[in-house]
Symmetry: C2
């Protein structure tokens, strides 16, 4: 975690410099790690696995149940509902453009999409599988997966490693380019309203872009403390501090309340807000962020302008075909 904290310090420093923000458009392709280059076969397999509820103990929860590819990439709930109706303490982050986070999960504990994909499947309140050995056994029992894994990885390739690689490869294709914001940055000045441009300018002046920078407006997926400035009123309302963030993993007090900076891409579609989903509206999220991160009280107009701008960050969702999942002829797991 030493590297992580170095990154935090670097970012805190960067945030304090008052340089003009370089507004950037979203790439249409995401970089892939050297050991998992993106191929159409992996993407197709990953799409199947991502939408297959048989990766959960009850056969009712797929990755897409909480990170819904038909919606804003999550479930619009304060906390997701896993197997047997169980809920946890955090709000599902969007899968759209998650390829542009350098770390994954709210607490950033996974260094890659591959590592992230392994987690929820065996989390007892999420997908509830006892072990990845059990997952692999299921996948081997489903006729059709063998062929799909072979096409993606070669013979006898059904494994935890390849399953998570395929899911990550699919997720790297979940990119929403060409938002009004991107069109504006690309030179189409009519793509944003005057109010939206005003909101964009205010975000820079206030310092929002100190963290929400880069193509995905997430500082590349860096860590940041939240909240920075204590506020009894908001804390009583929203209980932000109950969650220790990165310190829940590292047990190191220096990591208390460190969270991955979330992308602002499609933020209008992903209410409720913050790691615990306790803030219901985008306006309130803007108000709270300005106060507890930057120590600023926004006027009604400021909030309206910034919210208008945030609505311009909704991109174009690629048309996808539904995967037809291979069956288990004549038998079932449940």
């Amino acid at each position: 975690m030493f590297k992580i904290r170095l990154l935090v310090s670097a970012l805190a420093l960067a945030g304090s410099l008052s340089v003009a923000n370089a507004w950037e458009t979203l790439p249409t392709e995401a970089p892939a790690p050297a050991d998992n280059p993106t191929t159409p076969e992996k993407v197709e397999l990953g799409k199947m696995l991502y939408h297959d509820p048989r990766l959960s103990s009850t056969g009712t929860v797929s990755c897409s149940s909480c990170h819904n590819t038909m919606l804003g990439g999550e479930d619009n709930r304060p906390n997701s509902m896993g197997v047997h109706g169980q809920t946890g303490g955090r709000s599902a982050p969007t899968v759209w453009n998650s390829a542009f986070n350098s770390v994954q999960f709210w607490d950033g504990r996974a260094p890659s999409l591959e590592a992230q994909a392994a987690g929820p499947v065996t989390n007892p309140i999420e997908m509830g599988m006892k072990s990845w050995d059990d997952v692999v056994a299921r996948l081997k029992a489903i006729e059709g997966y063998d062929k799909a894994f072979e096409q993606a990885f070669g013979k006898d390739a059904i494994s935890k490693d390849n399953a998570t690689k395929a899911i990550a490869a699919y997720e790297r294709t979940l990119i929403t380019p060409n938002s009004p914001y991107d069109q504006y940055v690309n030179g189409n000045k009519a793509a944003l309203t005057t109010q939206q441009v005003s909101g964009m300018t205010k975000m820079e002046e206030l310092g929002c872009t100190g963290c929400h920078s880069g193509p995905a407006l997430n500082g590349g997926g860096a860590f940041q403390r939240f909240p920075v400035i204590g506020n009894d009123y908001f804390e009583a309302q929203y209980h932000f501090k109950k969650d220790q963030g990165l310190a829940e993993v590292t047990k190191n007090e220096a990591d208390a309340h460190l969270f991955k900076v979330p992308t602002l891409r499609n933020i209008a579609l992903t209410a409720p807000y913050f790691h615990n989903g306790s803030v219901k509206t985008l306006e309130q999220a803007v108000t709270v962020m300005a106060k507890v991160q930057l120590g600023k009280d926004l006027s009604k107009d400021d909030v309206a302008d910034i919210t208008a701008f945030l609505n311009a960050l909704t991109g174009e969702f690629p048309k996808q075909t539904m995967p037809q999942l291979p069956g288990t002829p004549g038998k079932t797991f449940n």
Copy 2:
């Protein structure tokens, strides 16, 4: 319910005649009622509604959660899991080819797909919405649905009636033609193996086709008593009689244990079997049906042959694009 019972009597009679079964292929289009002709706009809207989890109280359960369009049209569970992890007593029937059932639900209580679609949404253990008024209010609050309803039905068209019509119109497109069985009936004698042809012949000789007749091998979705012949051993194992079928609705003893005859199309993909999902494998389902419906003990070869034939009833699933569901910018229901 008088008409229903007439139908049962007529079918019992038909079943007792030993005429050769007319094997029929599946039409590629389903008939629609006069007041709900199928249009592309309705189908598109219906597909959105069918996959939208916001039609449930928790925002976690869509029609597709239990009647999964990426699988065999159901969830491969003995009973489905609704909001808050609740389960009921019956196994979700497949949505594929449900357009060819003259009645819907296991107990046949809905005379149409439109009537069926209204049910689960407000069932407290399924999708858990308090009322259709609440559903309509949600749909009105989701920007984007207004336009989709307008394209399908005209101005200010968001209503229970139109929502269920759209869902039914979509479901009428969920047809799986061109199974090996259909190819065989169409003259391609190589489409079935010798064993499968043997199973097909045995189904006719044994009397299975007395009920499982017609293009969907469901007697058009007629009613039939189940079980017909008491069997203490199977009853102790599978508890079929705990469910009164149609009599649960009509409270009429004459309707006890009447169920809609399920389609055999894609039956290999819809384990576990029967109204209560208590039978895990297709082989066991064949054995039990022969014994309690026809009073016949099948040999191992009979079971293997018939199971082989049933595997030939898996059709081709149409390629579908995923609907991108309209968002609720900046706010949420949950």
